[in-house]
Structure formats: C-alpha cells, structure tokens
Symmetry: C2
Subunit: 342 residues, 2 copies
C-alpha cells in the first residue's frame, strides 16, 4: 500500500495511482490529517475519499505511531496519550475511542486501534506493561466501534495491532488476547523501529500461527523490495512502507536489476531506461541521463517520475508474488529470490 500521509501520495496524482499504477488501496495518516486540515473539515467535505478524489480503498493508522515518533512532549496514561502538535505545539489528546471517531470522520475503509508502539530496545518489563495497555486500549476501541457500527449504514473494518516489542512470548500473549475481539483483520505493529531485520521477521513468526487464516494480516511499516516475499512467506497479506516514495524523492530507485542511485556520475550520459524490464511511464519515456539531470537540477518532475517508478516496482513485486501463489509456484519463487540475494 503506497503511503499518502497528508491526503496525497507525494508527487502522484490520483490518476497516476489508480489508472496507471493500478494501486487499489493507499494509506492515510490519521495524526497528520487530524492536525491539518482537520478531520471535521474532511468529514464536512464528504470524507477523505472525496476530499482527495481517490476512487479506491483507504486504510488509516490510528495516529499512535506518529504521536510517538513525531510530536513533542507526550504523556501516556491508561486513558490515552496527550501530545503536542509538531506543526504549532498545540496540545491534543488521543484515546482509543477518539481515534476511532477521527477515522470514522475520515471515512476510512480500514481503521486501526490506538496502540503504543515502543521504541527499540525496551526491557521485557516495559514491553509487557505496554503490551497490556495496547490490549486494553484495543478492547475500549472495539466497544466504541461496535456501538458506532450498530448505528451505521456503512461497514468499515477496525484492525487491532499486535505489539510486544521483540519478545516472542509477549507477541504470542498479545495475539491471543486480541483474538477475543473477533476482528475483520489483524495488524502486526512495532516493526521497523530500528531492530535488525531478522528480528522483524521473527516477531511476525511469533504471531502468525495464532492469527485466523481467513482474515487479512497486515505488517505495518515494512519493507525493502527483497523482504516483501519473506513477509508473504510468513503469512502476511498487507504491507505499507514509505520506502518506495521517500527513497524515490531522494534519488534512490529500485529496479529489477537492483538499486540505482541516480546522482552517480555513471548515469550522466546513460541513454537507457531506468529499468529495461519495467513498463511504467517513466521507464517507457525517459533515460537515466534525463532523470539524473532532473535530480541534479532539483526539478519537481524528478520526484514525480521517480515515485511512479518505485511504486510500480513494489506493485510489480506483489503482482509477481500473487501470480506465483496462484500458480502454486511461490516456494520456487522464494527460493530463486533468496539465491539471488546470496
């Protein structure tokens, strides 16, 4: 899922995303939209889909992750989290119920419960207390959500989030508690917070056996291109990450032949496409030399063309994975991928 933090995937129009790249679901960040332009404004304008002219599905996070990583002074209590806006320092409070309300105002198709996402590393004791709070908050969010759902003509999903830092026992305990909520899907959070990559995969493995097979599982905030299949191999259905879009803007491009750091002098007069195997607008129409020129000159068009390509690359990988699963060839696909990396 491409990340559209502030009601836009940076550098892409909705037509680029929907018609050209074939994205069908994107992510919005509740924390950012709550602060600017505000969820009430978006509700009054018909919801986030209409506000940003997006015909596909929208998933929103609960804002918890951004509160912990972006905002200034913040204070966690059993009730929720009080924090200061990174834009103007105003004080706000998120509770398990209020973040559901904000996401309902946005009209999100897949909402997330408020969770506490601990930094890495933390002690087992801290992780245990924090996990218990996340479980309690998830219960409060679901109580509020079910009341709203009973009165609502629409059907929106709410996913709880498995936490437990890097401790498999806590991950398993958290998962078992959250199963009682009988949710439409489950997220695994607290990844990509600075831990070594093998540990991220191990935490997914700890939760996976207990998660219901007929509900989507969502690994939040991952991953690098060659990691996507590893997550899928561990039972993950959904992922989001800023890597394809953020790295694109910084001139770091993912191709079927590996990474291309476009500022390198070797691309200065390279007439070839960024990725000969790619069918995106950028690769069909422009050379590496032109892309490098745009990057060096600081041109806006670079961000747009580079983002198109990187998002296409990610979606192509996911399409390959889906096709190999349908063809019964995923184990071979994964094996080839792993050999290529070694």
């Amino acid at each position: 899922m491409p990340v559209g933090t502030q009601a836009t995937v940076k550098g892409l129009s909705q037509r680029d995303l929907w018609d050209e790249l074939g994205a069908r679901i994107i992510l919005g960040n509740t924390y950012h939209l709550f602060l600017r332009p505000g969820h009430e404004l978006i509700r009054n304008l018909g919801g986030l889909h209409r506000f940003m002219s997006w015909p596909g599905a929208l998933l929103t996070d609960s804002g918890g992750y951004q509160v912990f990583s972006l905002s200034g002074l913040r204070k966690i209590t059993d009730e929720g989290v009080t924090f200061q806006s990174h834009l103007n320092g105003d004080t706000h409070k998120f509770t398990p119920a209020s973040t559901v309300d904000v996401q309902v105002a946005l009209g999100s198709d897949i909402m997330m419960v408020l969770d506490e996402c601990p930094e890495y590393p933390v002690s087992h004791e801290y992780a245990r207390v924090s996990m218990a709070r996340t479980v309690r908050w998830a219960g409060e969010a679901f109580t509020h959500y079910r009341q709203w759902m009973d009165a609502s003509p629409t059907r929106n999903a709410l996913f709880p989030i498995v936490q437990g830092s890097m401790f498999p026992d806590l991950r398993r305990e958290c998962t078992r508690h959250l199963l009682e909520l009988d949710a439409d899907g489950y997220a695994i959070g607290g990844l990509s917070v600075g831990e070594p990559r093998p540990l991220s995969l191990e935490m997914v493995e700890a939760s996976e056996p207990d998660l219901p097979r007929d509900r989507p599982r969502y690994a939040m905030g991952v991953g690098m291109p060659n990691e996507l299949a590893e997550y899928v191999a561990r039972g993950i259905d959904m992922m989001d990450c800023v890597l394809p879009t953020r790295n694109a803007r910084n001139g770091w491009l993912f191709t079927s032949e590996g990474k291309v750091v476009i500022k390198h002098a070797r691309y200065r007069d390279d007439p070839g496409p960024l990725d000969p195997a790619c069918g995106c607008y950028t690769c069909r129409n422009y050379s590496r030399a032109y892309l490098r020129h745009l990057f060096q000159a600081g041109e806006i068009l670079f961000a747009s063309l580079a983002t198109r390509h990187n998002v296409q690359r990610y979606l192509d990988i996911m399409r390959e994975i889906r096709e190999s699963i349908l063809a019964g060839e995923f184990p071979r696909y994964l094996d080839t991928l792993r050999r290529g990396i070694e």
Copy 2:
C-alpha cells in the same frame, strides 16, 4: 508557449503537456541547458526533443537575457559576452556564432540570435549603442547560421530580436535593419524588464508596422492573462512567459473569474472546483479546499495540479483568441475583454 527552462516545464510531465493540455510548442533556456547538463551531452543523446521526450516543437532563447539577469560578473564586448555561471562561478563566453552552435546542438526548431537586453531605464545614448550592437550581432549570427544551414539536412529557424529599450525611434531603426536578414520570423525583446505595461505595448506598436505580415512575430517574456489579447491586437503571434508556471507554484491561480490566491482562509472548506468553467484535470477532479490543503502542507502535488490549471488557462485564452479571429469577431472579443477589466 509554456517555459521549460531546464528541459522540463516545472511540475508537468510531457504527457501532461502534450496529451492533456494540448501544448504544441514549449521553450527551453539555452543559458541553463548550456551550463547543465551541457549542450554537448544533449547533442550526444539525440538532441533536446529526445532528451526530454518532447514530441512537439521547441523554441530556445539565445541565453543573452539570462546572462544579463542571472549570472555574476559579466562583460560585454563587441565580440560577445563573458559571464560567470550562477551555478559554480565558472567563466564562459557567448558570441553570436557560438550561441547558434549551442542551439543547433540542442536541436532547437526556433533559435534566437544573441542580443543585448538592456535593463530599464537606460539613456537614449546607451540604448542606441546597445541596439546597434544587437543589430551587428544578429548579422554575425545569420552569417554563421546560413553557412550551417547550407550543410544541414534539417531546417531550423533563427529569429532576430528587435531591441531599442523604450525608445520608439530606436525600435523602428532596429526593425528596419533586421528586415535585411530576411528571417523566418521576428522577435521583440527587451520587454518585461520593469517598465510600466503601457510602455511595453507601445514598443510593440513601434515595431509592428515594419515587420513582414507573412512571418510570425514573437513578443518575448509576456504577459498577464488579460494582456494576451492586447499583444495579439498589435500583431503578435507568439508569446512566452513564466507567469502561469511560476505563479502556480506560489499558489496564485488564474481563472475565468479572476485570480485565486489559494492560501486565503476563504478557500479552507470550499468544495467547488478552482474554476467552474475550466476543463483541466485539476478542475475536473479537485476542490479548492483540497488544493489549499496541499499548498499549506507544502505538497509536491500542489505544484503539479496548479501548474496544469494555469497552463490550461493560458492556452484556453489563446484558443479563444484564435477562434474569435477565425470567426471575424476578434474586435468584439477585445472590446468585451476591455470592458470587463474597467
């Protein structure tokens, strides 16, 4: 003609420009392309059309205007102009012949002669000496150009540039000298250098009666939306200006109902399109509230959507003018426009 300074119209893909907006000719800046990525690199990659993947026509300026307005220390001699790059301070020299060579390397369809573009105001004496130099340079450029043309399989135009600051007698004298070159078209330069608007129009009027009726006339660096018809009324066929693109990025939008400064709080929750009479992608898909949000949030998508609209507005105005001329109704069109402004 939209301005594509560094081999890109800022914020627009070539598809936006060609397929969607219907632009058929854009401008490239010789000074910028000479410095970065360099005309030899562009020549080696097949010329500017191919380098930037532009299927339409390209007009390039001679670089003179930018040398005078952007570069550091510069020194004018009878031979040409020596200047320092605004990028790294390197010293370069443009001569009437060398700027033709640079534009030939770029593969420009319509090239411009090197001219001196005096600031405003200057004395009649300075303007006279400068104009005489521009005329002499134009002669040297044409001598070089015709030698190249004799050996070239392609046909590229070279336009001389009428100068003479704000003195009608010098403008007329310059025009008469340049007519001897029997060029494919003529440009009027030295406008939009800080003079009052009526003076710009008066300078065009001074040159117009002598310019051949069967060749295009190009007013360089103009103008505001409501001025376009005024230039056409004075015999101008071609114009270029950074206003639609630069103002777009700054949140200043041109609509059929007048200007919209998108940051104003009145647009905060405005669900209507930027311009109800406009058929561009931006107006068909997004609200003023969304555009304001993107602008306030500093999102790249704003520049792209705003630029699309402003370029569409300019091209729509030119289409209206062409249609009114073909229908024999241009005097009435102009009259209506002038009443609307009063």
